[in-house]
């Protein structure tokens, strides 16, 4: 027990803490500038100075810990005078340009000067001059205003881990600058501008467009750009969104955001947004129509096709961008109103099959883990993707874990975790499995097996390890594998992060099994990276051919009475088609009508020619989206939908936390997705009507016992993690298959030849930090950072094909050609070229083929060998 006296108040503390923290706990306010709860204490601004009895000098309360019997005074004349003097010093150089400073009104310095004085400075010297820097696309630096509190630098180094900015110069001349001096060229998380107490680092997006007191509404909602599910506060005025902010202590992200969440909000007013329903007329053109007409038409055609071709000819595609309510409603339309199980989504490519496979190994709910918990893990193992780009805040958690002493082991290119790993385990692209095998074999041999699960252990016993020669051949040092094994064995609560690339290969089941084994042997936690915000939710809502809402199998008869009573019909018995089957069926002319909600299959699915062919044969295509994309252009009926900033509802993140989305503002002409679907369903005979997304959720609660006790009011208070106080139904199912387990991988010549530069490189999908699919491509802010497609290529490869950085090149593939500029990356392997899938017309997916993995059911990219690369003239 520590007893302290602060301002005459006796405070008893259990644990040692700083004087500032103790005072805050007792409700005593001490002014601060450089202090921020999220950051390491610094003690630089000297505003939190306090008087401590028997200590001759004033002390900075943010860095001094309390001791038993300490007597502290925070409001004496001496202290006040010191604070005033300190502020006077800061105002020597800080310009008093508050009338044109966006920070005015929420500026810490302004507030403190108002409170403590120094209204008149005694300094006659001129202030230092430092021209405002506009050389960055979205961040404006005004270093005249900088008071070098270093909050931004501590945020960048200590939390975000980007190490992009620094204090340059000394004393009076010091200010904050990125390495280049002009452009940041960093991760653009913008966390530096949240913590800046003055107007030194500001966002360019809303520059001089508002004052903090103009904000009319603040809405707490969930970011829809990826599956971390960060809580953000959207500040609005009228029909405009002013900015989005994180808040310390709120949500998974706890005061930080990534570039998409912070700057991407202007996507909603971006180019191509559709705001009126469209119908394809006889002339072949899409023409505006009223909601009434469009809905009527859609329902009539669906009914007609159902009558003529049967229910099996109708399918639906749900969306990871849409809420649970939206997806629930779509599957209700397809499954219970029309009567078909043809219901799937692009989660089928990686997230859904990977999760299903892992659940068969470990039981349902294996991926239900808390993302903030990663920071407390003592080990992080990453495979198959860069968490700092796909799910940036999860990536930041991995970095924080490392800073707290965890070992981070990345198999594959470390990308954003470069500098957080101790040794390189970067095999030739396509041969990651060799390294994973060697590591898992090493770990299992040393750790032994517990006998807990015979299915898993029988398989482990059959596992063959590659020999040293093979390991060296794929480009990894055997010594590094031994180090990795040692480090993994020391981990007590490791986190296994599995990226989509783990299942986009023909060794999908082996990769998942091996990662599962690490998890099994060490009792770890699994996180499945997911690009789209609500892949988990759409699976849980039954947007898959084999499950009904709540994640229960369609064959479960005991609930059918309930469904009959509640939804007006039983679950159709006939098995539905999954996404791949639906596309094939469309091509064969068996699928006549398709309802696509919030997805762009033509652009986002591989093999453009094949997909286009299939979609051309569909008689009736309904597309519901926010922008005029390639699929919309092919549709017969188009419904303009609200996007995530414009709707109420719930999302389930990749760690299976259920969170509440709130409508920040509305978009004229657009409807919520669930409402559009419900209106179509009503015309097709659905009895029930819904007023709001809350009514839909109430129905979901009745349908699945999993959500029985979860209502919107409760979700307002806090997010809930699976099983949400409810009852999960499925347990372990039994044995599972692993492909290629017993094979000794002595023969990995294919990959290593690529490495030596003997064969042609492969084209791989870039998943950049600055974009998540095509939605972010509507944001002007994100486009100003990453605005045009490029090929990322190694220096050696560029030399071999004879072009330079910035040259326009054409990559020729078996399935087409693609033009873009070349960007040379010195950290890259020679055997690969990266291309993103963001910009229409220049997408990665269009020029590669696919097949379906036989065991896992994930999408395996094929035909991605580059035939040739040639330079083209502009």
């Amino acid at each position: 027990m520590i007893k302290v006296n602060i301002d005459g108040q006796e405070i008893t503390l259990e644990k040692p803490m700083t004087i500032l923290a103790a005072a805050q706990r007792a409700g005593i306010k001490i002014p601060t500038l450089c202090y921020d709860k999220q950051l390491e204490p610094f003690g630089g601004c000297r505003l939190c100075l306090v008087e401590i009895e028997r200590v001759p000098k004033l002390m900075a309360s943010c860095t001094v810990n309390v001791t038993d019997g300490m007597v502290v005074r925070t409001q004496t004349e001496k202290v006040k005078k010191a604070r005033k003097a300190q502020l006077e010093f800061l105002l020597i150089n800080h310009p008093l340009d508050c009338p044109v400073c966006d920070k005015a009104g929420e500026c810490d310095l302004q507030d403190l000067v108002a409170q403590y004085g120094a209204h008149e400075g005694r300094f006659l010297e001129g202030k230092r001059k430092h021209p405002e820097s506009f050389r960055d696309p979205i961040i404006v630096r005004n270093m005249e205003r900088c008071i070098t509190c270093t909050r931004c630098v501590r945020m960048c180094d200590g939390v975000q881990g980007a190490f992009a900015i620094t204090v340059t110069g000394r004393g009076n001349h010091s200010f904050v600058e990125p390495f280049t001096g002009g452009e940041y060229k960093c991760e653009y998380c913008g966390n530096c501008l949240t913590v800046c107490p003055v107007g030194a680092i500001m966002s360019k997006l809303h520059r001089h467009s508002y004052r903090p007191w103009y904000v009319e509404k603040e809405i707490k909602t969930i970011c829809g750009f990826c599956a971390v599910g960060c809580t953000l506060i959207a500040q609005t005025r009228g029909k405009d969104i002013i900015r989005t902010m994180p808040k310390h202590g709120l949500g998974i992200n706890d005061g930080i955001l990534c570039v998409r969440g912070r700057f991407g909000y202007d996507y909603r007013s971006g180019e191509g947004r559709i705001t009126t329903p469209l119908i394809r007329k006889d002339s072949g053109e899409l023409e505006p129509a009223s909601w009434e007409t469009a809905i009527d038409y859609a329902a009539r055609r669906l009914a007609d096709i159902k009558e003529r071709h049967g229910v099996a000819s109708i399918g639906g595609i749900g969306s990871g961008r849409c809420t649970n309510e939206d997806n629930y409603m779509l599957q209700k339309l397809i499954r219970y109103v029309i009567g078909s199980n043809n219901m799937d989504s692009s989660a089928r490519f990686a997230f859904a099959p990977a999760q299903k496979y892992l659940e068969r190994m470990f039981g349902q709910g294996v991926t239900a883990n808390l993302i903030p918990g990663i920071a407390n893990a003592d080990g992080v193992i990453v495979f198959g993707g860069d968490p700092t780009a796909i799910n940036p805040i999860l990536g930041v958690q991995c970095r924080i874990a490392r800073r707290k002493g965890a070992k981070v082991i990345v198999i594959g290119a470390p990308a954003g975790l470069k500098g957080f790993v101790d040794y390189k385990l970067e095999p030739v692209v396509g041969c990651e499995e060799v390294v994973l095998r060697a590591i898992v074999k090493g770990v299992v041999d040393k750790k032994g097996l517990s006998g807990e699960n015979a299915y898993i252990e029988n398989k482990i016993k059959k596992l063959m390890s590659p020999d040293d020669e093979t390991i060296e051949r794929v480009g990894v040092a055997v010594a590094d594998i031994a180090k990795a094994v040692d480090n993994i064995l020391k981990m007590k609560s490791p986190v296994v992060v599995i990226g989509p690339e783990a299942v986009h290969t023909s060794s999908a089941s082996l990769n998942l099994f091996l990662l599962g084994v690490i998890n099994y042997v060490l009792n770890g936690r699994i996180f499945l990276l997911s690009e789209k915000a609500n892949y988990q939710g759409l699976l849980d809502m039954g947007c898959a051919p084999d499950v009904v809402p709540g994640g229960r199998p369609i064959e479960l008869d005991i609930i059918e009475h309930k469904f009959q009573d509640l939804l007006g019909s039983k679950t159709p018995e006939e098995h539905g088609m999954n996404l791949y089957e639906m596309i094939d069926a469309a091509k064969n002319g068996k699928l006549k009508a398709l309802y696509v909600m919030g997805d762009n299959p033509l652009f986002n699915y591989p093999d453009r020619e094949h997909i286009e062919d299939a979609f051309n044969k569909i008689d009736f295509l309904i597309v519901q989206d926010i922008s005029l994309n390639d699929t919309v252009k092919m549709a017969d009926v188009v419904f303009p939908a609200n996007s995530w900033l414009e709707k109420d509802g719930t999302f389930i993140n990749l760690g299976r936390s259920l969170q509440r989305l709130r409508k920040a503002l509305s978009m004229d002409g657009c409807w919520d997705d669930w409402k559009i679907v419900a209106e179509v369903a009503k015309k097709l005979g659905m009895k029930k009507s819904y007023e709001s997304s809350k009514d839909v959720w109430e129905e979901i609660r009745k349908v699945s016992p999993l959500y029985r006790d979860v209502d919107y009011v409760g979700l307002d208070e806090q997010a809930l993690t699976w099983p949400y106080m409810g009852e999960p139904i499925r347990g372990l199912e039994g044995d599972f298959k692993v492909e290629g387990l017993e094979q000794v991988l002595g023969n990995v010549a294919k990959g290593s030849d690529g490495f030596m530069g003997l064969t042609n490189p492969v084209l791989m999908l870039e998943r950049p930090l600055f974009h998540s699919g095509s939605m972010s491509g509507m944001s002007k802010a994100l486009l100003s950072i990453y605005g045009a497609p490029y090929f990322k290529i190694s220096k050696t490869l560029a030399l071999r094909y004879g072009f330079k950085e910035g040259d326009k090149v054409r990559v020729i593939m078996e399935k087409g050609e693609i033009d873009a500029s070349a960007q040379i990356d010195v950290n890259m392997q020679d055997g690969v070229v990266y291309l993103s899938n963001i910009f229409e017309g220049v997408g990665y997916m269009g020029v590669v083929g696919y097949k379906v993995d036989a065991v896992v059911g994930s999408l395996v990219i094929t035909n991605n060998n580059i035939v040739d690369i040639v330079r083209v003239e502009d």
């Binding site: 180094d157 992009a164 900015i165 620094t166 110069g169 000394r170």
Partner: protein
């Protein structure tokens, strides 16, 4: 494809890091080395040091700019450091400065266009008895006047 500059810096860091408890500590000596190799602390120099120490580029830049005696901008082949403190000033260093400006277009803190000289004003070098005085690179010269200063500088090409 590693050039010699990079190799020198890498070898230096590999050698030096054994003498320190943490690799961060090699940054300051490595900056000195890089200054010798590149002539100043260029962005490339910082990148090299960052690559081999793992310390971020921004942090190294912060360190380099903190210390006044690192050459944070390109320097000429020879560095003239002329004293302008009281005694040297009285003895005519001001006029020497204007002569340098006339002949070489050399401003204090600047560099000649051919990259031959850089000029820095320095504080007292303790040669008040024989003022005015200057240093050229590491060589010391005193009793300067309008004639001999150019004779001296002609030796440095």
């Amino acid at each position: 494809m590693e050039n010699n500059n990079v190799k020198t810096i890498r070898d230096f860091i590999e050698r030096e890091k054994k003498s320190y408890a943490s690799i961060e500590s090699t940054v300051i000596p490595a900056l000195h080395e890089a200054e010798g190799v590149y002539g100043w602390i260029s962005p490339e120099a910082i990148e090299d040091i960052s690559n081999y120490t793992g310390v971020s580029k921004a942090k190294i830049k912060g360190t380099a700019t903190f210390y006044a005696m690192y050459k944070n901008k390109p320097m000429g082949r020879h560095l003239i450091q002329l004293c302008t403190n009281v005694v040297c000033m009285v003895m005519g260093s001001e006029s020497l400065l204007s002569l340098l400006n006339e002949r070489y277009e050399l401003e204090p803190g600047g560099m000649t266009s051919d990259g031959r000289f850089s000029l820095v004003i320095m504080e007292c070098i303790g040669a008040c008895g024989t003022a005015p005085a200057m240093l050229v690179d590491a060589d010391y010269y005193d009793n300067l006047n309008e004639k001999n200063i150019f004779e001296i500088l002609d030796k440095y090409q």
